[in-house]
């Protein structure tokens, strides 16, 4: 069929466009700096793991990853936990100012981190949270919690309210119903939400960099600083870059079946 043919051509060409830059970085990450600068090639001539070795041996590098994973994890947990009950409230009840609160939450998702830069700096210095994982995790709540509420609310609205009522009639208390009956029903939603929280917290640079200096310094910051410092160690930088993609790639693989649904549900 002709239509299908053109679709595939288009799709393939887009995928090339999407993957080529990434491939290029991967390619570089397996080459030495000299090789990169001297010759131009699609495949690593002198294939080497050296760049990765550097990262895995040098604490300055790998601690970056660990830090990032820690605060992303903290953020994910907090976001989902606080968002669950709120989303339930929004999906099931009307209450004073519900729509305003919802809108207000949205605005936070929409506010440029740049705006919060200063005050966060001040605030966290005064409460002594500077350069801690918690600081970044909390800061990222600004955009992740609204998002979590948004997506979960969508998933929950998809569940008939009669199930809740039946449970109450059967004598379930709210917490018990919520944990035993309701959560299993929105597993997918929780997965997708966690995925999005991970994603936005993992990719954010500005706040993460500003609120940390040494102990909680995230990989993203580490990279930017090496850019400025050492005379452009392209190969290692590329390797570092590749490694930052890996966790995301893994997570997305797990939620691949729900992700489309997740987007649909995200109050969309």
């Amino acid at each position: 069929m002709k239509g299908a043919h053109w679709r595939n051509v288009f799709l393939t060409s887009y995928l090339v466009f999407a993957l080529l830059p990434i491939y290029w970085m991967v390619n570089m990450s397996f080459r030495t700096n000299e090789d990169i600068l001297s010759s131009f090639s699609f495949f690593p001539k002198h294939f080497t793991w050296a760049n990765y070795a550097v990262i895995f041996t040098d604490p300055a590098w790998y601690s970056g990853y660990i830090n990032s994973l820690i605060y992303v994890a903290i953020n994910m947990v907090i976001s989902v936990t606080v968002a669950l009950p709120a989303a339930y409230a929004f999906s099931r009840y009307r209450f004073l100012g519900d729509r305003h609160v919802f809108f207000w939450l949205l605005t936070n998702r929409m506010t440029p981190p740049a705006i919060f830069l200063l005050p966060f700096f001040q605030l966290y210095s005064t409460v002594g949270l500077m350069d801690t994982h918690l600081a970044v995790a909390l800061a990222h709540l600004v955009f992740n919690v609204p998002l979590a509420v948004w997506i979960l609310e969508g998933f929950m609205s998809g569940i008939p309210r009669e199930i809740d009522e039946t449970a109450y009639i059967d004598g379930y208390t709210f917490p018990r119903f919520f944990l035993k009956i309701f959560l299993p029903l929105i597993k997918a939603g929780i997965g997708v939400t966690a995925f999005f929280c991970f994603m936005f917290s993992w990719v954010e640079l500005l706040l993460a960099r500003t609120l940390t200096s040494v102990n909680a310094k995230p990989i993203v910051a580490t990279m930017t600083r090496t850019v400025s410092a050492s005379g452009m160690d392209w190969a290692v930088l590329a390797a570092a870059g590749v490694l930052t993609i890996v966790p995301g790639a893994i997570v997305i693989w797990f939620v691949r079946h729900y992700i489309a649904k997740g987007f649909a549900m995200g109050r969309v």
Partner: protein, 381 residues
Amino acid sequence: MQLRLDQVSRQEGLETHLYPLDLHLEPGSLTVLLGATRAGKTSLLRLLAGLDIPSRGKIWVDGQDVTGMPVRSRDVAMVYQQFINYPSLTVAQNIASPLKLSGRLDVPAISQRVRDVAQRLQIESFLDRYPAELSGGQQQRVALARALAKSASLMLLDEPLVNLDYKLREELREEFSTLFASGGSTVVYATTEPAEALLLGGYTAVLDAGELLQYGPTADVFHRPKSIRVARAFSDPPINLLPALAVPEGVRLGPDLTLNLVEALQRLPALNGQLTLGIRAGALELLVAPGQSDRESQRESHRLLVPAKVALAEVSGSDTYIHLETALGNLVAQRTGVHRLDLGELVTVGIDPEAVYLFDPQGAMVLAPNSVFQRATYADG
């Protein structure tokens, strides 16, 4: 459980779902809530369950005021028209959940009870499956099983059959009467279908536009509707209603079409003015060829014959409903069995004075066929 509603009403925002009503259900009785969609059946059920709180009025259970009592602490079970089960639990766990929570029974007792109920509903073979793996009919059986297993003192069913196939509906409905009988709990059953109310028997409460119009033994309500509205709500096919002018010897339905009601009128105060004559499809006689009736018993004497044209012959179950166009207006007649009548075919209908209702200008019933009423005493049993 003895249940009393006392001037209970329900508003949501501006719209009124239920106007103040009184209702009194005897322990162990079966009550059918009959009414069209949006008549207020579901609102009433939700009040009885305690899912909603009445805007005004009180609800008494065994003499104790439960108006504000939360659902959890009430002893009720509910079956929805959608097939509502806990998707994350197996059929067995679904049925067991209310028992587990009540904590009245120990584990072996519970599993025993689950098996019994499952057996009665013929789902024992699915106990380890998940609801999603079952057909609609089976899912609804699970929902029923869960409600029955709880053996709550009040059991509420909101059009439980409406989403099932025609035959499945018939089968389950057949089982209901025995299931309810065995339970001993007070049952309230909402439906839109008059036929269903009749098959279930018990008591019927007719609802229309948020008003409780009439409550009483089902056959009684059917045969002696208080008003036109009740008669309309409780007739399928729709009851035939004709404007009728009171005259000495009976009622005039049209130019030189007068129905002789002398005998009946002797039992009544003098009628006058514009009345409404009602006759149910089943009571309307259909003479396919003039002179020949499809009934043995012919009361040639006072029978009023009206020529008619067939608009549509609807076959429902084992009956044929014939929609007719006549000088008096559109009528519906019912014949047992499956009959083929072509659109436009010419027939004659017979209106039997013994079979008609009369309603006064305010719509209140003044005359009902007495023959049917006497027989109605057979009904409960």
